[in-house]
Each structure stands twice: as C-alpha cells, then as structure tokens.
C-alpha cells in the first residue's frame, strides 16, 4: 500500500542547535503512530515542519505522493493536514461555535463572505452543532472558551480538527495536564472520533494514552529517530528505556 505520509531526511536547525537531524518516517493510510521521546527531542519541531510553520533546511515530506516540504501553512492545511497544539490554541474572544467554524472558512466561496443563504447557514449550524454535541458542548455553543475545563478545551480543539475534514491529523500532547481519568476519557474520544478513516500521529508523554491508541511507536532523541516499530517491542527496547528513564531499571 502506498504511504499516506512519507518523510525523508528531514532536517531543521536553529542557530547552532539541530532540532531535527535527517528524520525518516512513513505512515500508511489509516495508520496511527505514537511519537515519543524526551523533552527537547524534536517532536514538536517535527509537527511544526509538517504543518508548515517552519520550513525544513533539508529533506522531503510527501503527502499522498506530493512533496509539501516548505509549503505555506495555509496550503498544507488545504491539502488536508490539521494539527492540535500542546498548549491549546483557541480563539478566546470568539464563541465555541465560531471556534469550530474557523475550520470551515477556507473552503467557502467569495460570495459567502458577505452572504450565506438561510439554508446554507442552517446546514452549517446543524453540522457544527452536531459536532459540538458529540462532545457534549452544544449548550455552551455561544459562550467563550475561557470558562471551559481543560478536557472541554481539548475536546473543542479536537472538534475543530474534525470540522476541517482532515486526512492527516497531528495531535500534540492531547492529554497534557490531565488526570488518569481525564486521560482515559480523551483517549476514548480520540479512538472513537479521530482515528476512523484518518492517518494520525500522536505526540504524548502519557503512556496509557499511547498504548491505548497506537500499535506502532517511533522514538525521537536529540532530533534523531532511535526506534520505530510495534508498540510493545519499542517500549521494551533497552535503548528507549534508557533515553526515557535513565539506565537504571526503574
């Protein structure tokens, strides 16, 4: 099967620091990959390159065969790549509904800037409200996101992600700061709503989430991929354990 995403030799430097040093990675359509590694190992930098925020210094990123390395974020997003952010990026001054709707604007026609027919408006509203309802947020549709709990904010971000109808989803620490119960909830939500029919890469430090979602794991350390394979095998790899927990048995 042809890969949905094929990264080869991806390199990105910042001044003297090499954040990514020739990373190769491929992802099959519909596959879920867990990306782990110590702090500062280049995981988020990889996402930043994939989403177009940083241009790579070298290497290629093929999305369904097209090389998207160095494209503007807007173009990459339109090609079907959507991401979440480690420390949430919500529009605090807009309502929950408008936060979701942000994902649908790029597909709209110029005329729609000034006018949406009543029917189109109703159709959009009902679609997005369904999405909010999926996460139990429909009652707060017209509130600002400031009053939500952390889990609700994450859910809103995931809902926005889904509203964009992506083919490739990049999740950056979706369970950061969550209790085990909350982590379990968010991983169930991801499993039910995000995974079906999409290729997904998840960065996460919380192993329960990784092991629950991913059958395959890749490990980055200091910008280099040091392991890639079936989840259990990677987690039992002594090299990986050392990079994570130090060499002592823990």
């Amino acid at each position: 099967m042809a890969a949905a995403l094929e990264i080869s030799g991806l390199t990105r430097r910042f001044g003297g620091v090499t954040a990514l040093a020739g990373v190769d990675l491929s992802l099959l359509p519909g596959e879920v990959l867990g990306l782990i590694g110590p702090n500062g190992s280049g995981k988020t930098s990889l996402f930043n390159v994939l989403s177009g925020h940083y241009a790579p210094d070298a290497g290629a990123v093929r999305l369904d065969g097209r090389d998207i390395a160095g494209w503007a974020p807007r173009r990459i997003a339109r090609a079907g790549v959507t991401r979440s952010f480690q420390n949430l990026r919500l529009l605090k001054r807009l309502s929950l509904y408008e936060n979701l709707r942000a994902a649908t604007h790029s597909a709209a026609s110029g005329r729609e800037l000034f006018w949406q027919s009543r029917a189109a408006k109703r159709r959009e509203r009902s679609q997005l409200m369904d999405l909010l309802a999926l996460f139990g947020l429909e009652d707060k549709a017209d509130d600002a996101p400031g009053a939500l709990t952390l889990v609700e904010m994450r859910q809103l971000e995931i809902a926005r992600l889904l509203a964009a109808r992506p083919r490739l989803v990049l999740l950056d620490e979706p369970a950061a700061g969550m209790t085990p119960a909350e982590t379990a909830r968010i991983s169930r939500i991801i499993a039910e709503h995000v995974l079906p029919g999409r290729s997904v890469i998840v960065i996460e430090h919380k192993m329960p989430l990784i092991t629950a979602l991913c059958r395959r794991i890749a490990v980055l350390q200091a910008g280099v991929k040091i392991a890639d394979g079936p989840a259990r095998a990677v987690l039992d790899d002594p090299l990986v354990r050392q990079s994570y927990f130090g060499s002592r048995p823990c």
Partner: protein, 300 residues
C-alpha cells in the same frame, strides 16, 4: 552643485544629530518596554514651553532655561509613564500606544490653552561667529548640536556598559524574565528609563528650539515624527541604529529641502520611512541572529 551637496550634508548631519537624540529616547523606551511612547514628543514640547515661559517672564539666561526644559520634559514623562504604561497590563502593548496618543491630545490642548498664540520666542545662542571650514559654513548652533549629541551618545554608551543602572536596563531589554529573577526591580528600571529618555529628548528639544529661536505647539508632533522615523530607519530597539537613522534622515532632509523644496522634503521623508519599513523591517542596524531566534520562539 557639489558644494551645495556638501554644505547640505554638513547642515543635515547637525540636524540629524538632534534627530538621533530624539530617536535614542524612543529606542530606550521601546527597547526596555517593547512599547511605543507616542507622547514622547509632546512631553518634550511641555519642557520647551516651560523654558520659553521662564525666559519670557524673567528673561533668565540659557542655563535656567535649559534646566526648565529638562524638568518639564522629565515631569511630563513621569505622568505619561504612570498613566499609559505602568497602569496598562504588560501584554497590551497596543493599548499603551493608543493611550499615549490620548495623553498627547491632552498635552497639546493644555499647551494651546496656556499659550494661545501660534508661535513663541525661544532664546538663542547669540554672539557666536559662523565657523568656516574652507568653502563650507557651519552655524555655531549646529556645532553645539553635533558636539552635544556626540558627547551624550558617548556618555550613554559608557553608562550602559559600566553602571549598574545601565546593565539592569540592558538586561531588561534583553531578557525581561531572566532580569526579574536576577533581582532586577523591573518597574523601577522601566520608570527611570522613561525619565532618562525624556531627559535626552529634552536636551535635543532645547538645542533644536535654540537653533530655531521660535516654537509652536506643533513641535510635539514634529519631535515624535522625526524621532520615530529615525528610529525606524535605524532599526527598532538599536541604540546605534537610532543615531545612524537620525543622521541619515537629517542628510536626506537637508538635501531634499534644497533640491525639491519644503513639500518635496516632506514627501521624501515619508516615502523614506515607508520604504524603510517595507524593505528593511529590521532597520539599517539589522537584527542579531539571537534576536531573530528569540522572536521566532515567541511567535509559536
């Protein structure tokens, strides 16, 4: 033609030195606070009018007038800092900018109330002979400007490198978070930087007013605009850039005035500003790699 060019350039350098001082004041504030104080020019204007008033009422000499200018500018700057900067949250940089604009309206109106006429006299440096350097003439006021600007910049450079206040100011411009945990009293350093900037601006304003011999309330707008342009040409937040920007602006203006007339000078100045922004957003002095990286970090 060539001689005109040289003569204009010499005059331009002198005026440009004063612009550089104005830009230096702007830059100090911007460097430390990352915010623009639009009321900078108007605070200088208050100082100049205080000096003019003192001179008109008691016909005092240059020194008391100078001190009055300095005091007026510094006191007004303290007011601006309290109301438009200290009182507004750290992340609302644009609110500070807009607020300082509002204070500008206040200051200009206040001066217009107290001095209802359009122009007022200002004491000049009398009795100094014109200086001849070959075929080029240098007005004595301009020589004073050049020398003062050079001395001030040298003193500032020395102070920034060798006094505790200078170091603390630089740490604040460099890494505010680290400055805080290193024990720097950020609020106080910011306040004193404001006063220092106003003092430098006051000196520039005094020199300019003394060279012209007359003042109008428009000098507030004028000082803000000239300082801003010089700062932007040189690069936001760079002291060296501010001075270079001032000199470039002065020379370009003097030549444009000579060859294109007053309206042509204005247009050239603003076109220069717009182009500098669009083509050289980092300014003539450029931006260090570390600065660029820090900026990239901040963005995401």
């Amino acid at each position: 033609m060539l001689l005109d060019l040289v003569q204009n350039t010499v005059d331009g350098l002198a005026v440009g030195a004063a612009y550089g001082l104005l830009a230096l004041g702007f830059t100090l504030i911007f460097g430390v606070m990352r915010r623009l104080n639009i009321a900078f020019g108007p605070s200088i204007m208050i100082g100049i009018f205080a000096g003019a008033w003192l001179h008109a009422e008691w016909s005092v000499g240059m020194v008391p007038v100078f001190l009055a200018v300095l005091a007026g500018a510094v006191i007004t700057a303290a007011y601006v800092e309290r109301i438009s900067f200290a009182a507004i949250r750290g992340d609302a940089a644009l609110a500070s900018m807009a607020s300082s604009f509002a204070i500008w309206m206040q200051l200009e109106e206040a001066v217009a109330r107290v001095f209802p006429g359009r122009t007022y006299g200002f004491p000049t440096f009398d009795g100094m002979p014109m200086i001849e350097i070959g075929p080029v003439l240098l007005r004595p006021e301009y020589l004073v400007m050049l020398v003062t600007a050079a001395a001030l910049v040298a003193a500032l450079q020395w102070g920034l490198a060798h006094t505790r206040f200078g170091l603390e100011l630089r740490t604040l411009a460099d890494r505010p978070e680290a400055a805080r945990v290193s024990g720097v009293n950020v609020a106080r350093v910011a306040f004193l930087t404001f006063l220092l900037a106003a003092a430098i601006g006051g000196i520039a304003g005094f020199l300019i007013a003394a060279a012209d011999g007359q003042i109008t309330p428009k000098i507030g707008l004028w000082a803000t605009i000239k300082g801003l342009i010089a700062m932007v040409i040189g690069g936001l937040g760079s002291l060296r850039g501010a001075l270079i920007g001032g000199l470039v602006l002065g020379v370009v203006e003097a030549n444009a005035q000579w060859f294109l007339g007053a309206a042509g000078r204005e247009m050239t100045t603003y076109a220069l500003l717009f182009l500098a922004l669009v083509l050289l957003p980092a300014g003539l002095a450029g931006r260090t790699e570390a600065g660029a990286r820090a900026e990239a970090e901040r963005r995401l």
